[in-house]
Symmetry: D2
Subunit: 283 residues, 4 copies
Amino acid sequence: MAASAHLIVTLSCPDRPGIVAAVSGAVCAIGCNIIQSQQFGDPETGLFFMRIELDAPGGESAVREALDPAVREFSLDLRIADQGRPARTIIMVSKEGHCLADLLYRRDTHGLGIDPVAVVGNHPDLAPLAQFYSVPFLNIPVTVDTKDHAEQQLLDLVRSENVELVVLARYMQILSDRVCEELKGSVINIHHSFLPSFKGARPYAQAHKRGVKLIGATAHYVTPDLDEGPIIEQDVTRVSHADSTREMVALGQDVERRVLAQAVRWHTEHRVLLNGDRTVVFR
Amino acid sequence: MAASAHLIVTLSCPDRPGIVAAVSGAVCAIGCNIIQSQQFGDPETGLFFMRIELDAPGGESAVREALDPAVREFSLDLRIADQGRPARTIIMVSKEGHCLADLLYRRDTHGLGIDPVAVVGNHPDLAPLAQFYSVPFLNIPVTVDTKDHAEQQLLDLVRSENVELVVLARYMQILSDRVCEELKGSVINIHHSFLPSFKGARPYAQAHKRGVKLIGATAHYVTPDLDEGPIIEQDVTRVSHADSTREMVALGQDVERRVLAQAVRWHTEHRVLLNGDRTVVFR
Amino acid sequence: MAASAHLIVTLSCPDRPGIVAAVSGAVCAIGCNIIQSQQFGDPETGLFFMRIELDAPGGESAVREALDPAVREFSLDLRIADQGRPARTIIMVSKEGHCLADLLYRRDTHGLGIDPVAVVGNHPDLAPLAQFYSVPFLNIPVTVDTKDHAEQQLLDLVRSENVELVVLARYMQILSDRVCEELKGSVINIHHSFLPSFKGARPYAQAHKRGVKLIGATAHYVTPDLDEGPIIEQDVTRVSHADSTREMVALGQDVERRVLAQAVRWHTEHRVLLNGDRTVVFR
Amino acid sequence: MAASAHLIVTLSCPDRPGIVAAVSGAVCAIGCNIIQSQQFGDPETGLFFMRIELDAPGGESAVREALDPAVREFSLDLRIADQGRPARTIIMVSKEGHCLADLLYRRDTHGLGIDPVAVVGNHPDLAPLAQFYSVPFLNIPVTVDTKDHAEQQLLDLVRSENVELVVLARYMQILSDRVCEELKGSVINIHHSFLPSFKGARPYAQAHKRGVKLIGATAHYVTPDLDEGPIIEQDVTRVSHADSTREMVALGQDVERRVLAQAVRWHTEHRVLLNGDRTVVFR
């Protein structure tokens, strides 16, 4: 018999009466205890979203079996995760280490639920930082000629290591549509700007030139449509006329790492559900 | 037969397995549709909290009847409110009108769910503002000699008008323990400071003297223990060495009215549940 | 002899050594006391900006005379204002009153330095609000046919009443290039979005559709290039997936009125200096 | 002849007419160019504060000589610092590394102006982190018996290494009055709470118990009166009923390191001037 487990059940489906009752009734019938639960019905898309934390005496398979009738009746898109298990993660970087350092520090200190299989850099600069945190570092340079090959290496690694999450921690390369599609919903990017705003290169120089009084960052799922993926989290910080572009970069990096870490935490706690081009975040 | 209703059900009880299933199953069985729902189990107090928005074809009485077995089995503290109905409210003021003006403006413009039965002032200064918004103004002066009588007038008004909510919108009088007890959980105060901090008179002068870089405000339920009631909402704003006490008052009033309006909105939407000395806020 | 005055001197000029010494020396020589002063040299534009609060025993004319050599030597763009005198102001509105109510409330209560000559509305809806605060209300409807005439009325009013500041407090009309040019640097608009972002109509609906987690507002000087004028102040507030477009409007209006009031306050305190397409804000 | 230097001049003195003119005139007379300058006169304490960034062709000694008459006339408390030179700094730690990691990262990446002479820990846990950033680590354990000796080691190190700044980066020991007095104005502490509030041990547990909706951190200069030193910077972050004490610690540490880094940056840029129990921060 399976051991008791602490599980997180997430689901989405077309909204109609009876879903909560069916789901909670089914898990209750096999002796589960619901610790926390949230629901949201989107009146615009007509979709329903639910997240449940529960203690399951019979483990994941028992829950899956108990929910099977509801899955068929309500066309549930159902996911069940073990709360205790961190997500097998690849962190992709270029030369800037602020986001990487922050993620690894939080993994060690605050139980951020990532199990970093590897740090992949298109430059070798951040190898020492990865090593300090005892995470393997892979240098996969990317040029126009090697891009296809480099992406294949990434996809192979994702498959061979059962990677569940890829974090673009200031990775300055654009993933091809093929990779975006294949890893849809499991690649998180931090955009060094406040979307939709200042698209393209050197956003802080653009922000400085425009004379803005706030700068921000956006964490989002990656889609083939660059910078248009579903937003997970955003935040801003105040700047003034006296801040140079260089100072705005430093302030911006603070926001970037904070926003990215928050998004990764919510993702690994299965709090983020896709709702078309948007997200539902059960905080 | 009762007309269909859009209801908000809130409940709290000792936490144990089966509550969500019992409640959602019961309302599902009578044809209700759950629009939105949130639960929270507090591991420290062992209490469970739930808020459900639902469409009820049979109206409130049908829901109450359907939930009766669960009420008895789980000792539910159950409340059912009609989402369309604003709370019958008394707003109490002294001389400063920023919070009053804000609440009445939001009632008119943003559908803040209060039905202001009266504005009660211990000074007459804000009568014109109340009249501009077509709300009756009652001047009930308070002195050491008249305090008992004044409070009795308030309690009489609460009873005769079926008042559900009393908002202390910068009312500079302390309610007696008797009133606090009798209206427990239905009196919201805005504290002109960031609790716990700077208790007592002239908080902005205290804050200025201390050289703080942030000032804040706290909305809380009123209890006999002054300034120690369950906190509903807090916020802050930045100040600098160049801000005089007078400027800090102006900045502080901005925070006060924003925090109070937020707390009143959440209360009238039945999002705030008491958890001992604290609150659960289902945002 | 002129009475002593409390003045605010602001100036900008090409940056080079000696400006501060020349200016402070000149006002010192006629017995002025500098209360507060700030300078900023922009290394990019090569411009220098300065703001001085001073007590001037000889009044404004003595200060102007004393600074005349420096004006010629350094090509100062010099302005001198009496700190005690509020700016003669026209507030332009359409149907939404949250910004108007806020500005008038702050004028009465917090000494916001505006002297509202008139509220001008292209709709009559806000006449009662203006009247409550004893400010004349002018209804100047605007149609394609009457636009030129309506703008002429505005310009005539600005001239005949010596108006120094025009505040577009959610005025839903676009001013012609002619008006923008003529009133350059003295028209403040509140943009119902976080610039540069979501230009055009229904920004909150756009923001909702995009699934943003923050919404904001921008106060800026009006230029012929719509929504591209120099930014004075910006702020944001947090929203979630559960907020409808309607709720985002309410939250957004909170930010709008706060940001507009802040920008107007800084403008009337002569803290905002134009630096090309940007502003210097001496807070 | 001395080489040209980029200097920061800060001064405070009793406020009276003529200070700005005397100071700017004196540095102008020796060919200095004022890049940026700020003044503030505190009407309550009657003190005047000034910060000037200038290019000095004759170097620091020429500036000091030129200002000597003003020093004597106005009783200036004058300090002159070379903008290019980082502050010789000791960072003191216990077991928690979030603030240390952040300070060293910013030194490397964002030019935070500290030259870390040593990391001093009363526990050895953070030695690897210091070594990763190539900073010497000194383990000086502190017990009731060794406290005097440990503090003497610290003071000896401060003297022998010409240390200008001591940062208590979550150093869980209280410095004796003797050390506080001797290093007055050059020891910065991060207080794991929002002062004045929740003094004493386990502030996040206290905050959780009180049910606050915001938690914060305060960076301040250390004085013998524990937790009452002049505040340099404060900030807050939002928490909810669902955040456990453990989650509040993680959120709180984010605020702590951000606030501490900001305070250290301002201090090393000579933007913070003492004004009795408060600070003037020229941002």
